[in-house]
Symmetry: C2
Subunit: 261 residues, 2 copies
DNA sequence: CGAAGTTTTGAGGACCTTCAAAAGTTGTGG
DNA sequence: CCACAACTTTTGAAGGTCCTCAAAACTTCG
């Protein structure tokens, strides 16, 4: 049994900070509608007006930015329970394309419904804001990944990120996860040419780091972590804002005591 | 006369959506303290607890992520009137270093003060959230820049982004802006080696695209835009939601009074 | 079984990196 | 105000990573 999109998304938010039961209900009753897509379809076009927030219930989705000359950079992959489009909640236009890579079921919530909810519920507003900040942390990590690592390390890093995120939603089984994208899409997400991505993938497979098919099985996860120098804390998957007030006060006073330079 | 850090930041927020006068006041009276830094100093360490939000009043600041092997990726530059650390407002730890590249004056506001304000003021909460979303859009664009463009185009793109952002705060004068960073830092922001950055810079200068010193003068801006395929809409500099024109004019005139350094 | 899409292979060359050192610049103290 | 140290920019050269082009092999699906 698959949980509804909203329930999955709620679970994701609550992994970071729990919500009171009443808030939970008002979240779960947000009105919206479902929409299904086959693989390789455009869910939101690059220049579409931004009116709804899309949550993935099942499937696999990418967000891409198309540059002037036709080059595309995939800037995020989204798994079940991810909110794809909160990034454009406060803008009138999306600035990127959303695309399905596998049969995908989405739930659509009008922005106005979200505003109505956040305006009367601080806790939820904060949880949503936090979620967009986690996305932003992932964007930064991707910039670092593409800017500082070379092909094999980039691949390893991406696979480890996906494994960690699948694990968080209970969909990592024996270090194996779905990756229903073409090598061409992988290349676009890693800033590599298709040919070079292919050869790098092969060399990693040959060395037994992982095997790939419709899914990826990490065979030598520890070695991959070492190869990519992976540190998944940027994913903020475990409760991060559970700081007891006493600690907070102590830290604050420490900071205050640092003299100006 | 330079506007205070908060006033500059408020002006930045209001360029996107105007605030009612009362909200403006509660924003401007946020308590905090100033801290000054010489060039090339660490403002926030990579593993520091996240307790305050830092606004740049004057100077030039970078945010960088250090990878396991010592490689660094600068993921953002911040100009006067930018809030550097809103990205970690809802986390307990920063995951990046903040560094000054020129003599810099910062204003520090405790997170708790910001929470207290946003909890009683929806409009401000939304404006701050929106600001973090704009930052995220810039992160995405940087990923695309590093992933899809080659050295000369990357440089052109970065310079055009900085020019647009300086222009928005009234600090672009004859297509000239301050860039008080070493080539080494530039290289770290663009995912290039120092040597290759240097040679690419030289070739662009030789062809008359721009001249550089402590500041950058874009001599052939239109050609640069074509070279980089630059489309600055991701910066969300002009009112993207609702700005009442009168307010815009007021703010603009305030901003105009900020002199160049 | 054929058509369309995807992965793989090969080869040549461009882009970019690394290493190492020289030249130029900035800041400091005598 | 000069001299020296530290830092930054520039140069050269060799080599690796990665890209482009082009075509073959493989897979998927109607």
């Amino acid at each position: 049994m698959t949980l509804s999109a909203i329930a999955q998304y709620l679970a994701k938010l609550e992994r970071r900070s729990a919500l009171p039961p009443r808030d939970r209900d008002s979240f779960l009753t947000l009105p919206g509608f479902y929409r299904d897509y086959a693989a390789n379809q455009t869910i939101v076009a690059g220049d579409a007006p931004s009116t709804h927030c899309v949550i993935v219930e099942t499937g696999f989705v990418s967000r891409a930015r198309t540059l002037g000359d036709g080059a595309r950079q995939i800037v995020a992959f989204h798994l079940p329970g991810d909110a794809v489009d909160l990034q454009s909640l406060l803008f009138t236009k999306t600035d990127h394309e959303i695309q399905s890579h596998a049969p995908t079921r989405t739930f659509w919530i009008a922005h106005d419904e979200i505003f109505a909810l956040t305006e009367r519920n601080q806790t939820i507003a904060k949880a949503l804001w936090q979620d967009t900040l986690v996305d932003a942390a992932i964007f930064r990590e991707w910039t670092a990944n593409v800017g500082q690592r070379r092909a094999r390390e980039r691949i390893a890093h991406l696979f480890l990120e996906l494994a960690a995120r699948y694990e968080a939603i209970g969909m990592l089984d024996a270090d194996t996860f779905d990756l229903p994208v073409t090598q061409s899409a992988l290349a676009e997400s890693l800033g590599l040419s298709l040919v070079h991505l292919n050869k790098s993938l092969q060399s990693l497979r040959r060395e037994g780091y992982f095997s790939t098919g419709h899914n990826v099985k990490l065979e030598r996860k520890a070695d991959l972590i070492a190869l990519a120098k992976f540190d998944g804390s940027y994913l903020h998957l475990n409760g991060s804002r559970t700081v007891d007030p006493k600690t907070r006060a102590t830290v604050a006073s420490l900071v205050r005591s640092i003299p100006s330079l």
